[in-house]
């Protein structure tokens, strides 16, 4: 029973999700929105579990002085500092704890941590992409075989298409490459993906595929 109940629940909710796609009625929408609300509620509880997981893993590293434990100290400091600053604010000259208003987010330290530390760090990580694209392109476009050479040529044409030095022909060829062979391949993948999704969903709803529950 302990193993069967989840599959019964999956069958019922999965079948309902198919049903509601074809039934636009308000009652069908009500149940659909009710289920989505549950997803939000579960997400809120799961976030608490996630924070607990992060705390435990980091705390263990610090406690047992594991390799690179200093990073865990920074992680936990960041986690708790943002929580504390997010819930405290100075309103009408006095500091207080605000659990239910947006005033906590007006805390100047919270804003400064967010605007001047978190956002620049994220932007830095994202900017690494530019360098990685260059190294990946170098690796991809090495002409080691006929097919790789064709790829190199196609890439060169697409990259040079906005260069006025080559005239209009290069843009025509590049557009053809993008709109015909490239788009055809993409559509083939999309059709395959669509069928794969439906097949996976059916397998899950019918209980054929059980791997996602650690069984199989």
């Amino acid at each position: 029973m302990r193993r069967q109940l989840p599959f019964v629940l999956v069958f019922i909710t999965g079948f309902f999700m198919i049903f509601q796609y074809f039934v636009p009625h308000e009652k069908s929408e009500f149940v659909y929105e009710f289920l989505l609300d549950w997803l939000t509620i579960i997400g809120a509880f799961a976030l608490a579990l996630g924070i607990w997981s992060l705390w435990r893993v980091s705390f263990d590293k610090i406690k047992f002085k594991k390799e690179n434990w200093g990073y865990s100290v920074v992680t936990l400091f960041g986690l708790f500092a943002m929580i504390v600053f997010g819930f405290t604010a100075q309103v009408d000259g006095s500091w207080g704890v605000y659990f239910y208003t947006a005033e906590g987010l007006q805390n100047p330290l919270f804003r400064r941590f967010f605007d001047f530390i978190l956002i620049p760090i994220q932007a830095t990580m994202f900017s690494l992409l530019a360098f990685f694209i260059a190294s990946a392109a170098y690796r991809a476009f090495r002409a080691r075989s006929i097919i790789a050479t064709l790829l190199l040529l196609a890439a060169l044409i697409v990259m040079m298409r906005f260069n006025p030095f080559f005239g209009a022909w290069i843009e025509t060829v590049a557009n053809w490459l993008m709109n015909v062979p490239n788009l055809a391949a993409q559509r083939a993948i999309v059709i395959g993906l669509g069928l794969g999704m439906v097949a996976t969903a059916l397998k899950i709803i019918l209980g054929v595929e059980r791997g996602y529950m650690g069984q199989g």
Binding site: I18, E26, L54, M125, I189, G196, V208, Q215
Partner: protein, 529 residues
């Protein structure tokens, strides 16, 4: 002096001619008056129906253009657009007031005792003659109508009410909120009866405008009874469309149309093609799965990426290094993440058997919870339950690039022998895969995000492209039932190819002949929103 006399003479002549022309003016003014006074021709054949294939609370208006529409040849061309009107009973004002009161009690305007000093100060300001809302230390709740300008008396009374509410016990406020809500819901129930009184006790309300040449309007109301746009279902509704010129007074009303009722449908006819396709595909799946159950041998072509998984785990075992499994940024409800769970099951089972270390950093807490259960079950199935440690799967953060930083740090510090990326990936795909390549790990990736596939192809040793990710669990397990579903996918793809060829031929036929009868096949695949 001569020029002055000449100028005076000219002025006299023009003045005289001006007076002389006055008698002929009535002719011109008649023309002008006729242009202003003759109304344009109204729209014809106004029809209103319930909007099909929706949840209700919406109607669809269609009409024939006024002959004076500026987009038509002939006619006066003076009609520049149309205004759509909806008859609303006066009772709707009562509902609006109740809604405003309820929202004030329920929402941000809910008076709280903390603001009592501000409210008292505001009352003093108003009593001293200040009515500028921006200058008041506290603005009381005002009606929803933005054009409403409160008087000193209104503001004074509103602030007195607010202060009284602030001083009232919480239980009184709760009771007031409950009774207001009940009164509002009772009024909503009475609404259909009030609409049925048409045309007594109500007025036409302008819903919107349609530019010249337009012949349709969709009146979509809200289904939430507490919304200002609420449009009741199963209620007699009446509509009118005015043909309007540049001068808003220059208009012609159509005959009112009604009653018409909106209601929700139990089947979306625009999605029949999807239903048929799903039915065919389900039949294929059931057919091949039952064949597989009966023992029929099904051939599926091997996938290098899948076959590499076992080798990669073996390599990690030999090297004594961990395996890093990344589930991507998808939610637990994404098919790619679900497919990734099934692959994680197989990987975790092998890892448990070989007693290798597994690291699973996660982005989503729900995904983390499920992945922990998946890995735990896999360890139990492998008979290594004691080796399972909950910290194998851990939560990092829900910030995309912070997650990337954490995973990259793990890669560079732990130097895993194998990195497996399966699931949904976005801009972080190349950053992860290139860092893994720098760390010297064997990398296997699979995603259904088309834009990220090239990055994985370039930076990883093996890549599962698109649907191969979904097929991976069937390949890894090698179970006949799962392989049967793969066969069904292949046959469905063949059917799609046939349909594409037929569609191609029919569209060529349409291009060659111009006959719309060739479009029937294309229209067959039209799916409504």
């Amino acid at each position: 002096m001569k020029y002055v006399l000449t100028l005076a003479l000219l002025v006299l002549v023009f003045s005289a001619s001006g007076f002389a022309q006055t008698p002929s003016a009535p002719g011109d003014s008649l023309v002008a008056d006729s242009m202003i006074l003759t109304p344009p021709a109204p729209v014809a054949n106004l029809e209103v129906v319930d909007k099909p294939n929706d949840h209700g609370h919406a109607t669809l208006l269609t009409w024939d253009l006024s002959p004076d529409d500026m987009s038509l040849e002939g006619g006066s061309k003076l009609v520049v657009g149309y205004e759509v009107f909806h008859w609303v009973p006066d009772f709707a004002n009562r509902i609006s007031t109740l809604r405003s009161e309820f929202n004030q009690l329920q929402g941000g305007a809910y008076p709280i005792q903390r603001d009592l000093p501000d409210a008292e100060a505001a009352l003093e300001q108003v009593q001293s003659g200040i009515t500028d809302l921006g200058a008041l230390s506290l603005v009381p709740a005002l009606p929803e109508d933005t054009a409403f300008v409160p008087t000193v008396g209104y503001l004074e009374q509103a602030l007195r009410d607010t202060i009284a509410a602030m001083n009232a016990p919480q239980s009184d406020m709760d009771e007031l909120r409950r009774s207001t809500r009940e009164a509002y819901l009772a009024a909503i129930e009475q609404l259909p009866a009030e609409y049925a009184k048409y045309p007594e006790g109500g007025d036409w309300v302008n819903l919107g405008k349609v530019a010249a040449g337009g012949t349709a309007y969709e009146h979509t109301g809200a289904k939430d009874a507490f919304s200002g746009d609420y449009l009741p279902d199963y209620t007699d509704l009446y509509y009118r469309v005015d043909a309007v010129g540049l001068d808003p007074d220059y208009r012609a009303e159509s005959d009112p149309y009604g009653p018409v009722q909106s209601k929700g449908q139990w089947y979306n006819t625009g999605r029949t093609t999807v239903l048929v396709s799903v039915a065919i595909f389900t039949l294929f799946t059931i057919m091949f799965v039952s064949q597989a159950r009966k023992g029929k041998k099904l051939y599926v072509r091997p996938l290098a990426g899948i076959e590499a998984v076992d080798d990669a785990i073996g390599r990690a075992t030999e090297m004594g290094k961990p395996i890093l499994y990344v589930l991507g940024l998808g939610a637990a409800s994404d098919i790619a993440t679900i497919a990734s769970f099934t692959i994680l099951t197989r990987v975790a089972k092998r890892v448990a058997e070989y007693q290798t270390q597994l690291i699973v950093p996660t982005y989503d807490p729900i995904v983390m919870t499920i992945a922990q259960e998946v890995v735990k079950s896999a360890y139990m199935d492998a008979g290594r339950a004691d080796d399972f440690n909950q910290d194998i799967v851990y939560f990092v953060t829900q910030s995309q690039f912070a997650y990337v930083a954490a995973v990259n740090g793990t890669m560079l510090r732990e130097l895993p022998a194998t990195n497996v990326y399966m699931g949904k990936f976005y801009a972080e795909s190349l950053i992860l895969a290139e860092t893994g390549a720098l760390a010297g790990s064997i990398q296997i990736a699979g995603t259904d995000e088309i834009a990220q596939i090239p990055f994985f192809v370039v930076a990883c040793d093996y890549t599962l492209i698109g649907e191969e990710l979904y097929a991976a669990s069937a390949y890894l397990g090698g179970e006949p039932i799962l392989l049967g579903s793969l066969k069904a996918q292949d046959y469905a793809k063949a059917l799609f190819v046939i349909c594409a060829i037929v569609g191609f031929v029919t569209l060529i036929g349409y291009s060659a002949t111009g006959s719309e009868s060739w479009l029937w096949f294309k229209d067959l695949f039209h799916v409504a929103d």
